[in-house]
Point group: C2
Chain length 218, copies 2
């Protein structure tokens, strides 16, 4: 794991003490997030769309009905910006000015290309399925050729990236610490609740291990 070079594109401009350029900081954020927000430009207008993603080394796969829309006229090499954010808490300070959020966010830059070859498409779908729930890929009906053709997957070579992290208590102005105002952190977590069986589930089919637990996702 190495670092991305700081360039005009990925340099964190404000509060740069919270910034990181190491893959070892950036990639765990990408991998923990269940969705990402993908930004692209269409006729000068920015568009931001939530999508399912999964990382395979320095490649990020994006999946969704709109995947092909990320690429203008099906053309490759459209610049994309992909942001994954994990919200960890609300930071209540004594002054309104120092209120904040505890979060971990990763911003990735690269160009998108439509995955065309069947072996790479299959690999991408496997990585995407396993990102959502490890073990799912081997449990499900594999895609037919027709389904594979109907599926758009975009691959992004991660050329540049940065992360930004805030954690810990509020940081108030020194003179404000004496104020009788409550300050602290309200931690936030994203959790999964009890799995709900599909109404048409074949009788006797058990919920798999990866969907049983009320696990904490972030």
């Amino acid at each position: 794991m190495s670092s991305f070079s700081k360039t005009a594109r990925n340099r964190v401009k404000r509060l740069s003490k919270r910034a990181a350029y190491d893959r070892a900081v950036i990639y765990p954020i990408v991998d923990e997030a269940l969705i990402c927000h993908v930004g692209f430009v269409q006729d000068g207008q920015p568009l931001v769309i939530p999508m399912i993603h999964a990382r395979d080394g320095d490649t990020l796969y994006l999946h969704g009905a709109k995947a092909s829309r990320l690429l203008k006229h099906g053309q490759s090499d459209q610049p994309l910006c992909i942001t994954a954010t994990l919200l960890d808490g609300i930071v209540f300070a004594r002054s309104i000015f120092h209120h904040s959020m505890n979060y971990r966010s990763a911003v990735l830059f690269g160009c998108g290309r439509l995955v065309a070859a069947e072996p790479e498409k299959l690999r991408a779908l496997e990585v995407l399925a396993e990102h959502i729930a490890r073990g799912r890929w081997r449990d499900v009906r594999q895609p037919s050729r027709k389904e594979l053709n109907a599926t758009s997957v975009v691959a992004v070579s991660i050329e540049s990236a940065s992360a930004k992290v805030r954690s810990g208590p509020p940081l108030d102005d020194e003179e404000d610490y004496a104020l009788p105002i409550w300050a602290g952190v309200l931690p936030l977590e994203q959790r999964a609740l009890k799995a709900i069986d599909d109404p048409r589930l074949v009788e006797g089919v058990a919920v798999p291990e990866y969907a049983i637990h009320l696990f904490r996702l972030s």
Copy 2:
């Protein structure tokens, strides 16, 4: 509450049966989300940044260290795209092809302008504070003139918008329903845990009502 007209900009291109253009659908999603992802264009490169937001009628206020970066050279009328996404569940289908997420997302379009007048900036900060925790504004030390000057708030007049919602069980191909594969939904929720007092809190200051409960946020 009325609808936004469908135009080339906000029209949901794929799976349009999940789309909505009514303020009555779009705005509750914006209001429930604790953060949004703001997209803008800088020298042809899309950028997506997580930010704190709050809505005041048809105006969206954006706050954050980077707010001013949204506006090129401080210029107003930069086109922005602001997306708020609430993740409600993971949808496990029998086939890999029909896996999905249950979610509610809102995509807003408008141009940003830096809020300069002090009364509007104060109003924006109040709306932002109340969006995070209703009742917080009156509890905290109000901003000084110096802090107000150091605060960047961007106002976006919401010109166009759309929402997309998926809910309910997976939708498999008819012949797949007989397969002995578990299918269903793993509901997701974002929760707040027990509030953590700041280590330097004045003794005897109680956690306010709005931060006591392990409330469900989405």
